[in-house]
Symmetry: C2
Subunit: 341 residues, 2 copies
């Protein structure tokens, strides 16, 4: 089982409007809602890949109730990835194109969220149909009490005992201490469970000091963390700060990995046009599933780049295009980099 932690879950709402005109009134043409927060997005992709997945974190109030209801409905068939040759057996170079459509129907991520008194936040994406651009509004999230944090820690430790890997994802809700991820990294390491950390700012800085197995910053987050603008140098710096492996996502340029076993750069076969929302979460799912399956670094990176590229290509934000994923797997380029000076 793979565990994902989303401390600040969200109900992701999308409004489509013909054109966004500030200080005017808009009739919303179409709206959609789905469970959100990075760890929930990662879990949805893991589930579509055929992995048994459990989600924990905080949920509460009427928004939280809607989130849980939608989460229970998240099946393989409902994700838009149902045509994917996307099971754990669909490896890079292992005949994945031929296997498209054969993936098992995975169950939805299992809900092990911890209930809080406050109301789960919403995020609102207003899509301007005239330009395709998105304007985003993020609510802050519920206040989490010390008692609620303690209840979460008990749940987390119970779940770790059955986990093959754990991902700690996203921002912290109000009331959770800034060293929270460092605490969760240490508990995972004590339990012997490989841990991936995907956050930013001070929570990332403190989390890295607790020596997680993987961190997956983007280029901006990495630069903010280390002060170095050049991603390869910054990734080496982040390793020195405590991360065993650093996987930097470089947008359309793919990913850069600096690990104890060497450094690699993985690139999609060509630049693609589409919606990058959720591409980073798909990359985390690719890395984490590859880790749980014992894949080599080049195969993990191949999967992560193919998944994130197939996410940009999917019509719905945050979903991945299954056939595109299967087609991309054999076409991702992975280059080994020279050891650092």
């Amino acid at each position: 089982m793979i565990l994902t932690v989303t401390l600040n879950t969200a109900l992701d709402v999308t409004y489509a409007v013909p054109a966004l005109v500030p200080h005017s009134s808009h009739r919303v043409g179409e709206m959609s809602e789905r469970p959100g927060g990075k760890g929930l997005n990662v879990a949805r992709v893991l589930s579509a890949l055929g992995h048994e997945t459990v989600v924990t974190g905080f949920v509460g109030g009427s928004t939280g109730a809607v989130l849980r209801e939608l989460l229970a409905e998240t099946g393989h068939a409902g994700t838009g990835a149902s045509a994917a040759g996307a099971g754990p057996s669909a490896e890079a170079g292992a005949g994945s194109s031929a296997e498209a459509g054969t993936a098992a129907m995975a169950p939805p991520p299992r809900d092990a969220l911890v209930t809080v008194a406050g109301n789960t936040r919403r995020t609102l994406a207003v899509v301007d149909r005239s330009t395709g651009d998105t304007t985003q509004f993020n609510e802050p999230g519920p206040q989490v009490s010390a008692g609620e944090w303690a209840a979460f820690l008990r749940t987390y430790e119970d779940l770790l005992s059955g986990a093959d890997a754990v991902a700690l994802c996203g921002s912290l809700p109000p009331g959770v201490h800034v060293g929270a991820y460092a605490e969760l990294v240490r508990l995972a390491r004590t339990a012997g469970v490989p841990v991936l950390l995907d956050t930013s700012g001070e929570p990332l800085r403190r989390g890295i000091a607790a020596r997680p197995d993987l961190v997956k910053p983007n280029a901006d987050e990495l630069a903010q963390l280390t002060g170095a603008r050049e991603p390869l140098r910054a990734a080496h710096d982040a390793r020195r700060h405590g991360a065993h492996s650093v996987i930097a996502s470089l947008g359309a340029d793919g990913m850069l990995a600096v690990t104890p076993d060497g450094a690699w750069r993985a690139s999609p076969p060509a630049a693609v046009q589409g919606n990058p929302t959720g591409a980073g979460d798909s990359a985390v799912a690719g890395l984490l599933s590859g880790l749980a399956e014992g894949l080599s670094w080049p195969d993990r990176l191949t999967r992560a780049v193919a998944l994130s590229t197939a996410t940009v290509l999917a019509p719905a934000a945050g979903e991945f295009d299954g056939p595109a994923y299967a087609g991309l797997l054999p076409r991702v380029g992975v280059e080994r980099l020279a050891p650092a000076a």
Copy 2:
């Protein structure tokens, strides 16, 4: 008891952001939620004025559940109008200033909403703190089935038997026929209950043909309805179409009334700065409460103009400033107009 009908209720959500920048991401600083839809706003003001009020219409889904919960909490104390000298006894020229603060604690409007399978809509107002401007997003509302409409009609007829007056307010949700307000006007007239209609477009046009006691269009709605740009001429036209009395709201210029008893113009003592959201709903509450109390037309108009002006002055959108209301009552100017040619 005064009945208000809101077929397309809404949960009104407000987000405050430092500045609205299209195609960027915003952290929402403050958010608030309150029961909305014109008839619910009217009921809240009637309740603050000390009137026993019942609300009906449609409500459903998780948003509807939140709306009902907040509606039950709507007390006089919670409206921001708790300091109002705003009871039925606080008449124009009847020492209302001296009575400020003495209004009875009114109970919240009684919930007689009819449950539907669909989800009640939200409206979102994004307030740009740098300019004070608001950008509005309105969801369409739930699909209402024929069976749900029939259930509503039974509730409506039951409620009419105990009503002193009824207000029919706002837009129609999807699935409700365009002649819905005409049907509701006829039922009220059959029951002998005075009926006020506050809507726009084709539902207003058809509703007027059913001969409501009052309509309260704004200048734009009136022009759209009759083709006449000049409000006095347009109001006379609307009467010829079937409305017994036409009260046109003219924004900062006050209100114009054309009735079987004569025509009047009522004006606030001075132009005021503030948020006009809900001013029209407060005017409806003023007219309806004056009708239920048997006030003269000049006194009804005085109350409507004082309430809508006090709503513009209140810090919270849609609330009215109680002391300002009491202070405005003796200062509203009412001028009798010459009979139409």
